[in-house]
Protein backbone atom coordinates (compact mmCIF):
# COMPACT_ATOMS: atom_id res chain seq x y z
CA UNK A 1 0.00 0.00 0.00
CA UNK A 2 2.86 2.37 0.74
CA UNK A 3 4.56 2.17 -2.63
CA UNK A 4 6.93 5.11 -2.96
CA UNK A 5 6.69 6.66 -6.42
CA UNK A 6 9.49 6.28 -8.96
CA UNK A 7 8.20 8.83 -11.49
CA UNK A 8 8.02 12.46 -10.38
CA UNK A 9 7.02 15.89 -11.73
CA UNK A 10 10.10 17.76 -12.96
CA UNK A 11 11.66 20.44 -10.80
CA UNK A 12 10.23 23.19 -13.04
CA UNK A 13 6.68 22.04 -12.31
CA UNK A 14 7.29 21.68 -8.57
CA UNK A 15 8.75 25.20 -8.54
CA UNK A 16 5.63 26.65 -10.24
CA UNK A 17 3.53 24.90 -7.60
CA UNK A 18 5.72 26.12 -4.72
CA UNK A 19 5.71 29.73 -5.92
CA UNK A 20 1.96 29.65 -6.58
CA UNK A 21 2.02 30.44 -10.31
CA UNK A 22 0.66 27.04 -11.40
CA UNK A 23 -3.06 27.10 -12.29
CA UNK A 24 -5.57 25.22 -10.17
CA UNK A 25 -6.07 22.24 -12.51
CA UNK A 26 -2.41 21.16 -12.82
CA UNK A 27 -1.89 22.12 -9.13
CA UNK A 28 -4.55 19.56 -8.18
CA UNK A 29 -2.62 16.76 -9.91
CA UNK A 30 0.74 17.90 -8.47
CA UNK A 31 -0.67 18.26 -4.93
CA UNK A 32 -2.27 14.81 -5.12
CA UNK A 33 1.13 13.40 -6.14
CA UNK A 34 2.68 15.18 -3.12
CA UNK A 35 0.29 13.34 -0.78
CA UNK A 36 1.75 10.06 -2.08
CA UNK A 37 5.38 11.16 -2.46
CA UNK A 38 7.53 12.13 0.57
CA UNK A 39 10.44 12.87 -1.78
CA UNK A 40 8.63 15.61 -3.71
CA UNK A 41 7.11 16.98 -0.49
CA UNK A 42 10.65 17.55 0.76
CA UNK A 43 11.56 19.22 -2.57
CA UNK A 44 8.59 21.60 -2.31
CA UNK A 45 9.40 22.34 1.35
CA UNK A 46 12.93 23.28 0.25
CA UNK A 47 11.52 25.53 -2.47
CA UNK A 48 9.26 27.22 0.08
CA UNK A 49 12.32 27.77 2.28
CA UNK A 50 13.93 29.56 -0.69
CA UNK A 51 10.79 31.74 -0.90
CA UNK A 52 11.11 32.53 2.80
CA UNK A 53 14.77 33.44 2.44
CA UNK A 54 14.03 35.67 -0.57
CA UNK A 55 11.27 37.38 1.42
CA UNK A 56 13.68 37.97 4.32
CA UNK A 57 16.39 39.31 2.03
CA UNK A 58 14.04 41.91 0.54
CA UNK A 59 14.63 45.54 1.52
CA UNK A 60 10.87 46.08 1.91
CA UNK A 61 8.65 49.08 1.24
CA UNK A 62 7.00 51.52 3.63
CA UNK A 63 3.43 50.63 4.61
CA UNK A 64 0.65 53.10 5.50
CA UNK A 65 0.72 54.64 8.96
CA UNK A 66 -2.60 53.16 10.02
CA UNK A 67 -1.87 49.60 8.92
CA UNK A 68 -0.47 48.37 12.23
CA UNK A 69 -3.38 49.74 14.27
CA UNK A 70 -5.86 48.22 11.77
CA UNK A 71 -4.19 44.86 12.25
CA UNK A 72 -4.10 45.20 16.05
CA UNK A 73 -7.82 45.97 16.24
CA UNK A 74 -8.53 42.84 14.20
CA UNK A 75 -6.59 40.50 16.48
CA UNK A 76 -9.51 39.95 18.85
CA UNK A 77 -11.95 39.46 16.00
CA UNK A 78 -12.49 36.41 13.83
CA UNK A 79 -9.70 35.03 11.59
CA UNK A 80 -9.75 36.11 7.92
CA UNK A 81 -12.50 34.52 5.84
CA UNK A 82 -11.33 31.39 4.06
CA UNK A 83 -12.68 30.17 0.72
CA UNK A 84 -15.68 27.89 1.35
CA UNK A 85 -14.75 24.34 2.20
CA UNK A 86 -15.92 21.68 -0.17
CA UNK A 87 -18.50 19.20 1.07
CA UNK A 88 -17.00 15.83 1.75
CA UNK A 89 -18.64 12.50 2.46
CA UNK A 90 -17.12 10.55 5.38
CA UNK A 91 -14.32 8.20 4.33
CA UNK A 92 -13.05 4.85 5.57
CA UNK A 93 -9.71 4.30 7.31
CA UNK A 94 -7.73 3.82 4.07
CA UNK A 95 -9.19 5.93 1.28
CA UNK A 96 -7.94 5.35 -2.28
CA UNK A 97 -8.16 9.03 -3.17
CA UNK A 98 -5.88 11.28 -1.10
CA UNK A 99 -6.48 14.93 -0.33
CA UNK A 100 -6.79 17.38 -2.01
CA UNK A 101 -8.41 15.24 -4.74
CA UNK A 102 -10.99 13.72 -2.40
CA UNK A 103 -12.46 17.15 -1.67
CA UNK A 104 -12.83 17.86 -5.39
CA UNK A 105 -14.65 14.53 -5.90
CA UNK A 106 -16.78 14.99 -2.77
CA UNK A 107 -15.72 11.66 -1.29
CA UNK A 108 -13.67 8.59 -2.01
CA UNK A 109 -13.57 6.52 -5.17
CA UNK A 110 -17.16 5.26 -4.79
CA UNK A 111 -18.36 8.87 -5.29
CA UNK A 112 -17.02 9.17 -8.83
CA UNK A 113 -19.76 9.32 -11.48
CA UNK A 114 -18.19 7.40 -14.33
CA UNK A 115 -19.32 7.57 -17.93
CA UNK A 116 -18.12 5.20 -20.62
CA UNK A 117 -16.24 7.01 -23.39
CA UNK A 118 -14.72 4.26 -25.53
CA UNK A 119 -14.69 0.49 -24.95
CA UNK A 120 -12.61 -0.28 -21.87
CA UNK A 121 -12.44 3.33 -20.70
CA UNK A 122 -14.61 5.20 -18.21
CA UNK A 123 -14.08 8.86 -17.45
CA UNK A 124 -15.40 11.52 -15.09
CA UNK A 125 -14.75 15.24 -15.26
CA UNK A 126 -13.38 17.01 -12.19
CA UNK A 127 -14.48 20.61 -11.79
CA UNK A 128 -11.42 22.83 -11.78
CA UNK A 129 -10.18 26.10 -13.26
CA UNK A 130 -7.17 26.50 -15.54
CA UNK A 131 -7.43 23.35 -17.66
CA UNK A 132 -9.34 20.09 -17.90
CA UNK A 133 -8.98 17.46 -15.19
CA UNK A 134 -10.65 14.09 -15.43
CA UNK A 135 -10.60 10.75 -13.73
CA UNK A 136 -9.97 7.72 -15.93
CA UNK A 137 -10.65 4.06 -15.28
CA UNK A 138 -8.97 1.77 -17.78
CA UNK A 139 -10.10 -1.83 -17.82
CA UNK A 140 -7.50 -4.33 -16.67
CA UNK A 141 -5.17 -5.29 -19.52
CA UNK A 142 -6.66 -2.78 -21.96
CA UNK A 143 -4.53 -0.73 -24.31
CA UNK A 144 -5.52 2.87 -24.81
CA UNK A 145 -5.66 4.20 -28.36
CA UNK A 146 -2.32 5.55 -29.52
CA UNK A 147 -2.37 9.32 -29.14
CA UNK A 148 -0.33 12.51 -28.95
CA UNK A 149 -1.16 15.78 -27.24
CA UNK A 150 -1.36 19.30 -28.56
CA UNK A 151 -0.31 20.52 -25.14
CA UNK A 152 0.90 19.06 -21.86
CA UNK A 153 -0.72 16.09 -20.20
CA UNK A 154 -0.03 15.06 -16.61
CA UNK A 155 -1.26 11.69 -15.44
CA UNK A 156 -1.12 10.36 -11.89
CA UNK A 157 -1.87 6.73 -11.07
CA UNK A 158 -4.14 6.16 -8.06
CA UNK A 159 -4.86 2.44 -8.39
CA UNK A 160 -3.54 -0.38 -10.55
CA UNK A 161 -0.87 0.54 -13.06
CA UNK A 162 -0.01 1.07 -16.72
CA UNK A 163 3.00 0.84 -19.00
CA UNK A 164 4.09 2.72 -22.09
CA UNK A 165 7.40 3.25 -23.89
CA UNK A 166 8.66 5.43 -21.05
CA UNK A 167 8.13 2.95 -18.22
CA UNK A 168 5.82 1.28 -15.76
CA UNK A 169 3.59 3.48 -13.62
CA UNK A 170 2.03 2.50 -10.27
CA UNK A 171 0.15 4.28 -7.48
CA UNK A 172 1.65 7.74 -6.95
CA UNK A 173 3.67 7.71 -10.17
CA UNK A 174 3.43 10.89 -12.23
CA UNK A 175 3.70 10.85 -16.03
CA UNK A 176 4.18 14.04 -18.03
CA UNK A 177 3.78 14.00 -21.81
CA UNK A 178 4.04 16.80 -24.32
CA UNK A 179 3.33 17.09 -28.06
CA UNK A 180 6.52 15.20 -28.94
CA UNK A 181 5.26 12.01 -27.28
CA UNK A 182 3.15 9.58 -29.26
CA UNK A 183 2.26 6.83 -26.86
CA UNK A 184 0.01 3.88 -26.29
CA UNK A 185 -0.48 3.19 -22.58
CA UNK A 186 -1.53 -0.34 -21.59
CA UNK A 187 -3.18 -1.03 -18.23
CA UNK A 188 -1.69 -3.77 -16.05
CA UNK A 189 -3.62 -7.01 -16.21
CA UNK A 190 -4.06 -7.41 -12.43
CA UNK A 191 -6.91 -4.92 -12.01
CA UNK A 192 -8.43 -1.73 -13.39
CA UNK A 193 -6.11 1.26 -13.60
CA UNK A 194 -7.48 4.46 -12.08
CA UNK A 195 -5.76 7.74 -12.89
CA UNK A 196 -6.29 11.46 -12.66
CA UNK A 197 -5.22 13.36 -15.76
CA UNK A 198 -4.77 17.02 -16.57
CA UNK A 199 -4.69 18.22 -20.16
CA UNK A 200 -4.32 21.75 -21.44
CA UNK A 201 -5.32 20.81 -25.01
CA UNK A 202 -7.35 18.01 -26.61
CA UNK A 203 -5.78 14.61 -27.23
CA UNK A 204 -5.21 13.49 -30.81
CA UNK A 205 -5.64 9.86 -31.69
CA UNK A 206 -2.91 8.79 -34.08
CA UNK A 207 -3.54 5.06 -34.54
CA UNK A 208 -4.55 4.25 -38.11
CA UNK A 209 -8.07 3.03 -37.43
CA UNK A 210 -8.86 5.35 -34.63
CA UNK A 211 -8.49 8.75 -36.26
CA UNK A 212 -12.23 8.77 -36.88
CA UNK A 213 -12.72 8.86 -33.11
CA UNK A 214 -11.00 12.25 -32.78
CA UNK A 215 -14.18 14.29 -33.08
CA UNK A 216 -15.65 12.22 -30.26
CA UNK A 217 -12.78 12.81 -27.85
CA UNK A 218 -13.29 15.50 -25.30
CA UNK A 219 -10.54 17.59 -23.80
Amino acid sequence: MTHTPNHHPDSDLLLSYATGTLAQAPSLVVATHLALCPHCRAEVAGMEAIGGALLSADAGMAVSDGLLSNVLTRLDGPPPVQPPRRRLAPVGPAPVLPEPLRSYIGGDIDHIRWRRTIPGLHEADVKCSGGAVRMMRIRSGMGMPQHTHRGDEFTLVLAGGFSDDTGHYLRGDFAATDPSVDHRPIADDDGDCICIAFTDAPLRLTGRFLRWLNPLMRT
Binding site: M47, I50, G52, L55, L67, L72, L75, P98
Partner: protein
Protein backbone atom coordinates in the same frame (compact mmCIF):
# COMPACT_ATOMS: atom_id res chain seq x y z
CA UNK B 1 30.94 34.53 8.00
CA UNK B 2 29.82 37.66 9.85
CA UNK B 3 26.88 38.09 7.51
CA UNK B 4 25.94 34.50 8.15
CA UNK B 5 26.08 34.98 11.90
CA UNK B 6 23.85 38.04 11.53
CA UNK B 7 21.43 35.99 9.42
CA UNK B 8 21.28 33.33 12.07
CA UNK B 9 20.78 35.83 14.88
CA UNK B 10 17.90 37.37 12.92
CA UNK B 11 16.33 33.96 12.27
CA UNK B 12 16.60 33.12 15.97
CA UNK B 13 15.08 36.48 16.93
CA UNK B 14 12.06 35.88 14.66
CA UNK B 15 11.67 32.36 16.05
CA UNK B 16 11.72 33.69 19.57
CA UNK B 17 9.12 36.38 18.74
CA UNK B 18 6.94 33.75 17.11
CA UNK B 19 7.04 31.43 20.12
CA UNK B 20 6.16 34.34 22.42
CA UNK B 21 3.12 35.04 20.23
CA UNK B 22 2.14 31.35 20.22
CA UNK B 23 2.64 30.66 23.94
CA UNK B 24 1.92 33.96 25.65
CA UNK B 25 -0.22 35.81 23.08
CA UNK B 26 2.44 38.51 23.42
CA UNK B 27 1.31 41.61 21.50
CA UNK B 28 4.68 43.35 21.71
CA UNK B 29 6.32 40.36 20.06
CA UNK B 30 3.59 40.44 17.42
CA UNK B 31 4.24 44.15 16.74
CA UNK B 32 7.93 43.35 16.24
CA UNK B 33 6.97 40.63 13.74
CA UNK B 34 4.70 43.11 11.98
CA UNK B 35 7.56 45.61 11.65
CA UNK B 36 9.74 42.91 10.16
CA UNK B 37 7.28 41.35 7.75
CA UNK B 38 4.78 44.04 6.68
CA UNK B 39 7.23 46.07 4.51
CA UNK B 40 8.64 42.89 2.96
CA UNK B 41 5.17 41.53 2.25
CA UNK B 42 4.25 44.82 0.65
CA UNK B 43 7.20 44.65 -1.69
CA UNK B 44 6.38 40.99 -2.47
CA UNK B 45 2.68 41.64 -3.18
CA UNK B 46 3.28 44.75 -5.30
CA UNK B 47 5.78 42.90 -7.44
CA UNK B 48 3.23 40.14 -7.84
CA UNK B 49 1.04 42.75 -9.55
CA UNK B 50 -1.31 43.80 -6.73
CA UNK B 51 -2.46 47.38 -6.32
CA UNK B 52 -1.26 49.15 -3.17
CA UNK B 53 -4.71 49.02 -1.52
CA UNK B 54 -5.22 45.33 -2.20
CA UNK B 55 -1.64 44.62 -1.08
CA UNK B 56 -2.24 46.29 2.29
CA UNK B 57 -5.54 44.45 2.77
CA UNK B 58 -3.68 41.22 2.07
CA UNK B 59 -0.92 42.16 4.52
CA UNK B 60 -3.62 42.67 7.18
CA UNK B 61 -5.07 39.23 6.41
CA UNK B 62 -1.64 37.61 6.49
CA UNK B 63 -0.64 39.19 9.81
CA UNK B 64 -4.02 38.42 11.43
CA UNK B 65 -3.60 34.82 10.21
CA UNK B 66 -0.11 34.75 11.75
CA UNK B 67 -1.71 35.75 15.07
CA UNK B 68 -4.54 33.21 14.89
CA UNK B 69 -2.44 30.32 13.66
CA UNK B 70 0.68 31.02 15.71
CA UNK B 71 0.28 27.73 17.59
CA UNK B 72 0.48 25.72 14.39
CA UNK B 73 3.91 27.15 13.59
CA UNK B 74 6.50 24.41 14.11
CA UNK B 75 10.09 25.69 14.37
CA UNK B 76 11.35 22.13 13.76
CA UNK B 77 9.79 22.17 10.27
CA UNK B 78 10.53 25.62 8.84
CA UNK B 79 11.87 29.10 9.49
CA UNK B 80 9.31 31.81 10.37
CA UNK B 81 9.90 33.57 7.03
CA UNK B 82 9.11 30.34 5.16
CA UNK B 83 5.87 29.95 7.07
CA UNK B 84 4.87 33.58 6.41
CA UNK B 85 5.84 33.25 2.74
CA UNK B 86 3.48 30.26 2.40
CA UNK B 87 0.61 32.10 4.15
CA UNK B 88 1.07 35.14 1.88
CA UNK B 89 1.25 33.01 -1.26
CA UNK B 90 -1.94 31.15 -0.32
CA UNK B 91 -3.76 34.35 0.60
CA UNK B 92 -2.82 35.91 -2.73
CA UNK B 93 -4.14 32.86 -4.60
CA UNK B 94 -7.36 32.83 -2.52
CA UNK B 95 -8.01 36.44 -3.57
CA UNK B 96 -7.17 35.75 -7.19
CA UNK B 97 -9.20 32.58 -7.64
CA UNK B 98 -11.71 32.80 -4.79
CA UNK B 99 -10.93 29.16 -4.26
CA UNK B 100 -8.31 27.50 -2.09
CA UNK B 101 -5.01 26.37 -3.59
CA UNK B 102 -5.00 22.57 -3.84
CA UNK B 103 -2.77 21.34 -1.02
CA UNK B 104 -2.17 18.16 0.94
CA UNK B 105 -3.80 17.53 4.32
CA UNK B 106 -1.04 16.41 6.74
CA UNK B 107 -3.61 14.39 8.72
CA UNK B 108 -5.06 12.57 5.72
CA UNK B 109 -5.10 8.78 6.28
CA UNK B 110 -4.19 8.33 2.59
CA UNK B 111 -1.00 10.42 2.94
CA UNK B 112 2.17 8.35 2.47
CA UNK B 113 4.24 9.38 5.52
CA UNK B 114 7.85 10.53 5.39
CA UNK B 115 10.27 7.62 5.51
CA UNK B 116 12.28 8.81 8.47
CA UNK B 117 11.04 11.27 11.05
CA UNK B 118 11.12 14.34 8.84
CA UNK B 119 11.37 16.86 11.63
CA UNK B 120 14.80 18.25 12.37
CA UNK B 121 16.21 19.83 15.45
CA UNK B 122 15.19 23.47 15.69
CA UNK B 123 18.84 24.45 15.76
CA UNK B 124 19.42 22.70 12.48
CA UNK B 125 16.49 24.44 10.78
CA UNK B 126 17.89 27.79 11.86
CA UNK B 127 21.38 26.96 10.66
CA UNK B 128 20.02 25.66 7.41
CA UNK B 129 18.02 28.86 6.87
CA UNK B 130 21.11 30.97 7.58
CA UNK B 131 23.08 28.88 5.10
CA UNK B 132 20.33 29.45 2.56
CA UNK B 133 20.57 33.23 2.98
CA UNK B 134 24.30 33.03 2.33
CA UNK B 135 23.79 30.74 -0.66
CA UNK B 136 21.26 33.12 -2.26
CA UNK B 137 23.79 35.96 -2.02
CA UNK B 138 26.36 33.78 -3.76
CA UNK B 139 24.15 32.83 -6.72
CA UNK B 140 25.33 33.95 -10.17
CA UNK B 141 23.39 37.19 -10.96
CA UNK B 142 21.57 35.72 -13.95
CA UNK B 143 20.23 32.89 -11.79
CA UNK B 144 19.31 35.18 -8.89
CA UNK B 145 17.43 37.51 -11.25
CA UNK B 146 15.26 34.72 -12.67
CA UNK B 147 14.71 33.21 -9.24
CA UNK B 148 13.35 36.50 -7.87
CA UNK B 149 11.05 36.82 -10.89
CA UNK B 150 9.79 33.25 -10.46
CA UNK B 151 9.03 33.76 -6.76
CA UNK B 152 7.84 37.33 -6.66
CA UNK B 153 6.36 38.38 -9.96
CA UNK B 154 3.64 35.77 -10.34
CA UNK B 155 4.74 35.04 -13.87
CA UNK B 156 4.76 31.70 -15.64
CA UNK B 157 8.20 30.63 -16.77
CA UNK B 158 7.14 31.31 -20.36
CA UNK B 159 6.27 34.94 -19.44
CA UNK B 160 9.66 35.36 -17.75
CA UNK B 161 11.32 34.05 -20.92
CA UNK B 162 9.43 36.61 -23.04
CA UNK B 163 10.28 39.49 -20.72
CA UNK B 164 13.97 38.63 -20.49
CA UNK B 165 14.09 37.72 -24.22
CA UNK B 166 15.51 34.30 -23.41
CA UNK B 167 14.51 30.92 -24.81
CA UNK B 168 12.11 29.11 -22.45
CA UNK B 169 14.59 26.24 -22.16
CA UNK B 170 17.26 28.65 -20.85
CA UNK B 171 14.91 30.07 -18.23
CA UNK B 172 13.91 26.59 -17.08
CA UNK B 173 17.48 25.32 -16.91
CA UNK B 174 18.75 28.40 -15.05
CA UNK B 175 15.94 28.09 -12.51
CA UNK B 176 16.59 24.38 -12.18
CA UNK B 177 20.31 25.05 -11.62
CA UNK B 178 19.60 27.76 -9.05
CA UNK B 179 17.17 25.59 -7.08
CA UNK B 180 19.44 22.53 -7.27
CA UNK B 181 22.41 24.60 -6.10
CA UNK B 182 20.51 26.04 -3.14
CA UNK B 183 19.04 22.67 -2.18
CA UNK B 184 22.49 21.10 -2.35
CA UNK B 185 24.08 23.77 -0.21
CA UNK B 186 21.32 23.35 2.36
CA UNK B 187 21.75 19.58 2.34
CA UNK B 188 25.55 19.84 2.36
CA UNK B 189 25.47 22.00 5.42
CA UNK B 190 23.17 19.53 7.11
CA UNK B 191 25.44 16.59 6.46
CA UNK B 192 28.42 18.56 7.71
CA UNK B 193 26.57 19.21 10.95
CA UNK B 194 25.32 15.73 11.63
CA UNK B 195 28.42 13.68 10.79
Amino acid sequence: MTAQRTDQAEIERLNDLMSRVARQRDRQAFVALFHHFAPRLKSFLLRAGMEAGAAEETIQDVMVTVWHRAESFDPAQAAVSTWVFAIARNRRIDRLRRDARPAIDPNDPALVPDEADGSMETMLVEERAAELHRAIRSLPPEQADLLRMAYFEDKAHSAIAAERQLPLGTVKSRLRLAVARLRKLMAGNLEGETV
